[in-house]
């Protein structure tokens, strides 16, 4: 292993450790009841600054919505502040950063797909918020309590979906992990020397891909040759269109070069991430709901709608940045794995299983209310 490879391994381990530690820390924090909650460390540094900024922006929204009533130019200010608020705001809980990032890691997704997922789920969140307020407040004239109850139902639905998405990932990834393990056990010889060079990456990836396709896998022994893997890989790309509704087909491209454009653009490309988009995006941001109702009360509902969508774009940028980071960490781990064909693949599959477990865990924690999300419920 080269020095670079070691450094990259170390980094990826550190990043994953940070993700896990962060999740555990939040969980631990959230578990202490308000009564038991003692002093938390003072938030400081970049993040404290981010949060103080988002608080400021949020407070400015109300003034700008009021101003927009009489002064059309205030609308630009409103949109600008909404955008900035979205960017800073998404740093807080909710908005599916953790879920999307884990999903991407588990599914060996590209950064482009990560960005797409982030934007799609953020826009869906905005749409849900607008729909809830439009139907509940504008049409029915429902009270805040009724709206809060509606949001809670949708929230729980969204969390349950996250559990399902995680469970499915776990099933798929767990099987892949077991197969890799079995393949390793049945193979007494270590990887052939030529696996060390670049070409081996293809072979290895091809194998990784094949493991998720029963039809492909069945007629091959685990210790198939590199050439067979290559064949398998291309064979799969050809068949990709047939099974795109299957979560397992998320993995077919194993290329270090990233996915073929048509794989992203195709109808299957959309459907692959749809479950995650819906699971995360179903749940509206409570800030957006409050802004929408406030603008409604000011007689400027459309300004609130515009603000909500611009906010969503800002939110998506932050979530996408974090998702890209997760994808980057995954790619680094993968490149390391490529240098150690047999053992490395197992580690990679292990990371995927771990990420799938995280998605499930996030869903369960959110569902049981253990993990803090945004609270709609005070009133």
């Amino acid at each position: 292993m080269t020095r670079n490879a070691k450094a990259r391994l170390l980094l990826s381990v550190l990043i994953l450790a940070a993700l896990v530690a962060g999740a555990c820390y939040r969980e631990a924090l959230a578990q202490s009841s308000p009564l038991a909650a003692m002093r938390q460390p003072a938030p400081a540094g970049l993040f404290g600054w981010l949060l103080s900024k988002q608080a400021l922006f949020y407070r400015e929204l109300s003034g700008l919505i009021r101003a927009a009533k009489s002064d059309g130019t205030a609308l630009w200010g409103l949109l600008g502040v909404s955008f900035a608020y979205g960017i800073f705001h998404a740093a807080g809980p909710g908005h599916g950063k953790a879920v999307i990032s884990s999903y991407l890691v588990a599914n060996e997704e590209t950064w482009r797909r990560g960005v797409t997922l982030s934007f799609a789920s953020a826009l869906l969140q905005a749409i849900t918020a607008v729909l809830i307020v439009a139907v509940a407040a504008v049409l029915i004239g429902a009270t805040a309590k009724a709206m809060g109850d509606t949001v809670r139902v949708i929230e729980n639905l969204s969390y349950a979906l996250i559990v399902l998405v995680g469970a499915r990932l776990f099933w798929v990834k767990g099987r892949a992990f077991m197969r890799t393990l079995r393949a390793l056990n049945s193979k007494s010889l270590p990887a052939e020397p030529e696996h060390a060079h670049d070409h081996a990456t293809h072979a290895h990836d091809g194998r990784a891909a094949c493991c998720h396709h029963d039809h492909a896998h069945r007629d091959h022994e685990p210790n198939q040759s590199a050439a067979a893997d290559m064949h398998e890989h291309h064979h799969e790309s050809g068949h990709h269109g047939h099974d795109h509704d299957d979560e397992e087909s998320v993995l077919p491209w194993g290329h270090a070069h990233g996915p073929e454009p048509e794989e992203l653009a195709g109808p299957g490309g959309w459907r692959r991430g749809l479950s995650a988009i819906v699971a995360v995006g179903l749940r509206p941001c409570s800030g957006a709901i409050i802004v929408l109702v406030f603008s409604l009360a000011q007689g400027l509902f459309w300004a609130g709608v515009a603000s909500t969508f611009v906010m969503a774009i800002g939110t998506a940028i932050t979530v996408a940045a974090i998702a890209t980071l997760a994808v980057g960490a995954r790619a680094v781990a993968k490149r390391f794995a490529a240098t150690r064909v047999s053992y490395g693949t197992l580690v990679l599959r292990g990371i995927e299983v771990g990420a799938a477990v995280l998605v499930m865990a996030f869903g369960v924690l959110l569902l049981t209310g253990t993990m803090a999300s945004e609270r709609m419920g005070m009133f």
Partner: protein
């Protein structure tokens, strides 16, 4: 390659720095005044709060409520909402904590009495009034009342004027009020002249608003 590694290190540090604090997320701002109620024997019997919500949340909370006059809400019209409010607040222990000689008292408070909402049509804000009786009146050398939301969904801050009053407290008792630090905010940022929200817009539970009463 080096650039990539540097980027990843920076990203990692950022993640590490941000994760633990991802809780903080205020959506509701409360400007409050409080009264500490004393019995003739010099013991604290209860806390009376008046919490004024920010205008956006006030608009949200009053959405869909029936009103005789547009833009106005009477106390009676708001009473059902007041009930919902205090009922929901129970889950959060009313965000009010009592420390006796530095020790946090568990379950120190009874359910609120004398609660009602007021609507200010000029500022378009709601104020929730309620009194929290102590389960057992407390007499202590040092008594602290803290108000904060550990999850920081609600950002509490004392009003600038008449923030805390001692009612019928023994004459020798003295009071001090600690407001959260305002590390992140400059005094120049002042959106609402009538509140001290910006002083409180720092975050975290250690930004508790604390009233300390010392009776030698």
């Amino acid at each position: 390659m080096i650039r990539r590694i540097v980027f990843l290190i920076a990203a990692f540090l950022w993640l590490l720095a941000s994760m633990p604090h991802a809780q903080a997320h205020p959506h509701v701002w409360v400007t409050m005044t409080s009264e500490l109620l004393y019995a003739p024997d010099g013991s604290l019997t209860g806390v009376r709060h008046a919490w004024t919500f920010d205008d956006m949340f006030s608009a949200f909370a009053t959405q869909g409520l029936e009103q005789k006059t547009k833009g106005q809400f009477t106390r009676e019209e708001l009473q059902p909402l007041a009930k919902v409010n205090v009922d929901s607040l129970q889950e959060y222990a009313y965000f009010t904590y009592v420390n006796v000689d530095g020790k946090r008292q568990k379950d120190a408070l009874l359910d609120p009495i004398d609660y009602y909402l007021e609507y200010d049509p000029n500022e378009t804000v709601l104020t929730l009034h309620f009194t929290l009786p102590l389960k057992a009146p407390v007499k202590a050398k040092t008594l602290e009342v803290e108000v904060y939301d550990p999850e920081f969904f609600i950002d509490f801050g004392f009003a600038e004027k008449n923030q805390v009053k001692l009612v019928n407290a023994p004459a020798q008792c003295s009071m001090s009020v600690a407001k959260p630090r305002d590390d992140f905010f400059s005094a120049a940022v002042r959106l609402d002249k009538s509140t001290a929200w910006e002083a409180n817009a720092g975050m975290g539970a250690n930004f508790a608003n604390r009233v300390t009463v010392t009776c030698p």
